[in-house]
């Protein structure tokens, strides 16, 4: 670590003033640009984040913590964790399988498959929710069959999980495809010539190569799964303590003039996002380090 940094400094120090005029803009312009960027960031990112925590803590730490002991809040947190707990592994398996299939094998209709994977990114989350209402709703295609068999899909937990899986579908596959394309399939080919089987190749060659990219995808997928509002709102039915996820619970509290609790739960969501970002940064740093060695 210390080696490259110090050589860089030593090399950069003497011709500093000369390089200045030739490669840099005037000071006022630089400061104006930097200032604008900072003000912009502060105004649109930092300030709202602070506001969420400030509003949540407006009535003291005790009310803040009490918001999480509410049975409805606990139910919302549980449901959010359950949803993410199902959606992320499902998309993990699918994402790896799809990326492996797309990057390691030539086949017909490959570009169609890639387009399909991108579909959830392209449609509005509200549409994603409505799709399930149209298919599984009481008057939808399979709705009456499910009703007759007493199986609840929409306005129940399965619908929320389905909608979340749909919305977070592309995250892992999209993360892996470019990575695996860049890596090519030379190593796998070599493994084949050495007599390795399919599973062996996957566990010993492919997986170690994509490990960090995969983790990155999982983190992004998880963040979206916990934070999704639109699609989930359409299929939820808003039954308290039953089908409200954390984002929906925040809306309900806000609408009940319970602003401190609304922002307390919102701050917990924000905290999850911050942890996610920290993890993401760590994974990026880690994979860069590994790339260098």
């Amino acid at each position: 670590m210390a080696g490259p940094a110090s050589t860089l400094l030593a090399a950069g120090a003497p011709p500093r003033t000369a390089a200045h005029r030739a490669t840099q803009d005037p000071a006022w312009l630089r400061w104006a640009l930097i200032g604008t960027a900072i003000v912009f960031l502060g105004f649109f990112l930092f300030l709202p984040l602070v506001a969420v925590f400030a509003e949540g803590l407006a009535h003291g730490l005790r009310t803040y913590l009490a918001s999480f002991r509410e049975p409805d809040a606990l139910a919302a947190i549980r449901l959010t964790l359950l949803t993410a707990g199902i959606a992320v592994p499902a998309n993990l398996v699918f994402g790896v399988a799809a990326a492996w299939c797309i990057t390691k094998f030539p086949f017909r209709g490959k570009s169609l498959l890639i387009t399909l994977i991108d579909l959830p990114f392209a449609v509005s989350p509200v549409i994603s929710g409505l799709i399930y209402v149209l298919v599984f709703g009481a008057r939808g295609w399979f709705g009456s069959w499910f009703l007759d068999h007493n199986i609840a899909i929409i306005f129940a937990v399965p619908g929320i999980v389905l909608a979340t899986i749909f919305v977070t579908f592309p995250f892992i596959a999209r993360e892996l495809i470019p990575l695996m394309q860049a890596q090519g399939s030379d190593e796998e080919m070599t493994a084949v010539t050495l007599g390795a089987g399919g599973w062996q190749i996957f566990w010993r060659v492919t997986l170690p190569n994509i490990k960090w990219g995969l983790l990155y995808g999982v983190i992004l997928c998880n963040a979206r799964a916990m934070g999704e509002f639109g699609a989930v709102s359409v299929v939820s039915g808003h039954i308290r303590g039953e089908t409200n996820t954390m984002p929906l619970h925040v809306e309900i509290l806000y609408n009940e003039y319970n602003f401190a609790a609304a922002f307390a739960v919102a701050s917990l969501l924000a905290l999850l996002a911050l942890v996610t970002l920290a993890l993401k940064t760590f994974v990026e740093w880690r994979s860069q380090q590994l790339g260098r060695t």
Binding site: G137, A138, G143, F155, G237, G241, E242, N255, Y257, F259
Partner: protein
């Protein structure tokens, strides 16, 4: 061997206990402003039902714009009972998918509405724009907050209240239409539900006057303090009747018909009426209403049947696709 039989006995006991202590779960799908009312009422009903039958009952709540909620029930939200903002939304459950039989307003006493309300004008403290009646609402420079009549029941009542006032005051439907057209030019945003509109007005500080459910206006003052908002009682307004109904097909499938019916009937009891009054809904029961006489201002109220020929007709004329509201709002 002994251990095994012991285990079996324990399992049998546990299932028996679970069986007898089985709680009945009802789902009440309601409109936006009734959240606080039904939190109170559900607790009272659970107590009443436990004392009467010994069975525990938990009533789950779901709230949203009245039209949107009816739509969810049509799409399969398993509501045992619906308590919506207006009869047309419950009648939709009948006409679209036969979830309830016939016209909902005839199923329980007094149009199936255990409590009523009306539309009032909520203004900021000191009434800075000097709003005294409906005419002042459409003066230049006054900004109005009201929800979207397409999705919100309260907003439909507000629309009809303003229309009814103008029709009576100026004597013709054409004049009323002019009045309404002008009114919606003063509306900067249409929220989807009544509660959203109230929040826009009280929390976000948008608008000079909110055309609001009377109960919403009282609740806003209770939550935010009488030093921030005041209610202006117009010279005349509409008698808003939010009806209740069992969703027969769902209740039958879930086997909850009896308790669902009792749940709605208990709204008419003295205790139910008192809870309504406490939550700023006008009780139907005269004796209980007298108790809250000082709370609710006396306003001459016209009815939807009297002035608009009932909900079916009003819904068709004003709020259906291509109806009067669509015509005036697109201009």
């Amino acid at each position: 061997m002994k251990l095994k039989s012991l285990l079996l006995a324990a399992v049998a006991l546990a299932t028996a206990a679970a069986g007898s202590a089985k709680t009945i779960t009802l789902l009440n799908v309601s409109y936006d402003p009734t959240r606080e009312l039904y939190v109170d009422y559900n607790a009272a009903f659970a107590k009443y039902w436990k004392a009467k039958t010994g069975a525990a009952v938990v009533v789950q709540q779901s709230h949203g714009g009245s039209g949107a909620q009816a739509r969810s029930v049509v799409d399969g939200l398993q509501a045992d009972v619906v308590t919506l903002a207006l009869a047309a939304d419950i009648d939709a459950l009948h006409t679209i998918c036969m979830l309830v039989p016939g016209v909902c307003q005839k199923r329980l006493p007094v149009h199936s509405t255990p409590y009523t309300s009306t539309i009032v004008l909520l203004v900021r403290k000191g009434n800075p724009k000097g709003i005294k009646d409906w005419d002042d609402v459409i003066r230049p420079g006054v900004s109005i907050v009201v929800a979207n009549p397409k999705t919100s029941g309260g907003a439909r009542w507000a629309y009809l209240a303003a229309w009814g006032y103008a029709q009576q005051r100026y004597g013709s439907e054409a004049k009323a239409r002019e009045f309404i057209t002008e009114l919606y030019k003063h509306v900067p945003v249409l929220d989807s539900g009544a509660r959203g509109a109230t929040t826009t007005f009280v929390k976000n500080g948008i608008g000079d006057v909110a055309l609001s459910w009377e109960n919403e206006a009282f609740l806003a003052i209770k939550e935010f303090g009488a030093d921030k908002f005041e209610i202006v009682v117009p010279s005349t307004s509409i008698l808003a009747e939010p009806p209740v109904s069992v969703v027969d097909r769902v209740a039958k499938r879930k086997g909850t018909t009896a308790v669902a019916k009792a749940y709605l009937e208990y709204l008419y009891s003295d205790e139910g009426q008192d809870i309504a009054g406490r939550n700023f809904y006008r009780p139907r029961n005269a004796a209980i209403a007298a108790k809250y006489a000082s709370v609710f201002p006396q306003i001459p109220l016209f009815t939807i049947d009297g002035l608009f020929g009932g909900w079916t007709k009003a819904q068709q004329t004003h709020f259906a696709d291509g109806g009067v509201f669509d015509q005036i709002y697109q201009k």
